[in-house]
């Protein structure tokens, strides 16, 4: 019988939640790496027993942990992220030049085909790759070096490269996103990059249609349609059907189009999920109601999903990497909150229940569907 393993990163450690395919009874393991911030925790699609963790604190810096046995044992791996060449400068919050400085790894994206290859998105924004199971890391410097780097600036959470999407049909193509620079694409395996932000409009930058400077919060893709991308921008939910060459707004009837998380149903590539958040100055759900909104039409037409979610006095946030789906039939949807709850729906969002209620603030949620 299939098993589901939910990998949860929090402000104070990692947790592993497991269940059989019914997804009714859950076993909770953790905290692993207690006391450390776990920005991201993800398994290899090529070998589900291979797990990678980004572990950090302000005191002792960045660590990368690897498990080869599904999380039973862990080994610290290479934690040296050295920018290629002279790092140069980007814009600081006040618009002055600021030197590139490594702070932490926000996102780890294991290769779709090789368990030893993994990508790391870091703050200050850059993309690194390891081909030896995270022992050593090399920057894909063409991203920072393509020309617009000196104009990138940090979002409120830092200048982070937080989204990495590998194209399952084209191993040379990678999409990434940076707050607050925008989305970028390579078609040559990471050698060269170009911004893919045409159609994004951001009122908080001098030129709302600028090539870079957009605060992209997250991007999702269905593996069967790698040319279609869904984006939760700072404000606005967007979609692209040409691999990011152009974007159209699909916020439609959402109560607010601010938010962080966005994901796609495992079996329905036009069914997408967001968690609307009131605004950039009030990082909680509108009206104190925690609602997931689902569109079955690839955007524009949205319905609230509320059964089992708190509908009064709820003021948590759902961060950009804190939503994931399993690949069972029917599709399971999962998300974690800054209040420490991890909610699961085993029926595509119709009904929800908390797996856990009192974890530290949840930073990331990933799901593995195991045979």
């Amino acid at each position: 019988m299939s098993e589901v393993r939910v990998l949860v990163g929090t402000r104070k450690g990692a947790f592993v939640l497991t269940s059989d395919a019914k997804r009714e009874q859950w076993d909770v393991s953790g905290p692993h790496f207690a006391g450390w911030e776990i920005y991201h925790f993800k398994g290899s699609p090529a070998d589900p027993s291979r797990l990678y963790v980004s572990q950090s604190t302000g005191w002792f810096g960045q660590l990368i942990q690897r498990s080869n046995d599904g999380g039973k044992t862990w080994e610290p791996m290479g934690n040296q992220f050295k920018y290629d060449g002279v790092p140069g400068t980007h814009q600081w919050y006040d618009g002055t030049p600021h030197p590139w400085e490594f702070k932490r790894v926000w996102h780890l994206e294991p290769s779709l085909t090789d368990p030893d290859t993994v990508y790391a998105g870091v703050e200050d924004a850059a993309l690194f790759r390891s081909n030896d199971g995270a022992q050593t890391w090399q920057e894909l410097a063409g991203l920072r070096g393509h020309g617009s780097g000196p104009r990138w600036q940090p979002g409120a959470g830092g200048m982070c490269l937080h989204t990495i999407i590998l194209d399952p049909d084209n191993p040379q193509r990678i999409f990434i996103a940076i707050s607050a620079a925008g989305a970028f694409r390579t078609d040559d395996g990471g050698e060269t990059w170009r911004p893919i932000n045409r159609g994004l409009k951001s009122q908080y930058i001098p030129d709302p249609d600028a090539e870079v400077g957009h605060c992209v919060h997250h991007i999702a893709m269905h593996p069967s349609r790698p040319n279609t991308l869904f984006m939760q921008k700072h404000w606005d939910v967007m979609r692209s059907d040409d691999s990011g060459d152009s974007w159209q707004e699909v916020s439609g009837n959402l109560p607010t189009d601010f938010g962080f998380a966005i994901d796609v149903h495992a079996h329905e590539p036009e069914t997408i999920y967001v968690v609307p958040i009131k605004s950039d100055s009030e990082h909680f759900p509108p009206d104190g109601k925690l609602r997931v909104f689902r569109s079955r039409t690839g955007g524009n037409e949205w319905e609230p999903l509320t059964k089992g979610l708190p509908q009064s006095d709820c003021y948590v946030n759902v961060l950009r990497d804190a939503m994931a789906v399993d690949s069972l039939d029917s599709c399971g949807i999962y998300f974690g909150t800054t209040g420490g709850q991890v909610y699961a729906s085993a029926n595509a969002g119709e009904n929800w229940a908390p797996i856990v209620r009192d974890l530290p603030a949840v930073l990331s949620v990933e799901v593995q569907t195991l045979p």
Binding site: W59, Q62, L63, Q80
Partner: protein
């Protein structure tokens, strides 16, 4: 013989309990002690001092013999009591964040 006391998170990371005992060749300085520590426990590289610059991380402090040695040159000899093992060299996570 040098005794080093690590903060709890780094003891967990290095899989050690209690003091770390090191042999240091030559002069006993912050640099030689940390070099020996990282040679014995490579998982600690980058957690106490920066990989490249070898500068102490901002929220890490070094204490010994009731003195704060954090701002001493890394090549200044440590107190004799540390060099003989009579007193430990403390790596401290600075109190921050309330």
């Amino acid at each position: 013989m040098i005794r080093v006391v690590l903060p709890a998170h780094l003891r967990t990371l290095a899989h050690v309990k209690g003091d770390v005992v090191l042999e240091v060749d030559g002069e006993v300085t912050q640099r030689s002690v940390l070099d020996a520590l990282e040679a014995s426990y490579p998982m600690l590289r980058g957690t106490i001092r920066d990989h490249d610059t070898q500068q102490r991380r901002g929220f890490v402090r070094f204490f010994a013999c009731e003195q704060d040695l954090s701002h001493e040159s890394p090549d200044t000899p440590l107190p004799e009591a540390v060099a003989t093992g009579a007193e430990p060299f403390f790596v401290i996570g600075a109190i921050a964040g309330g």
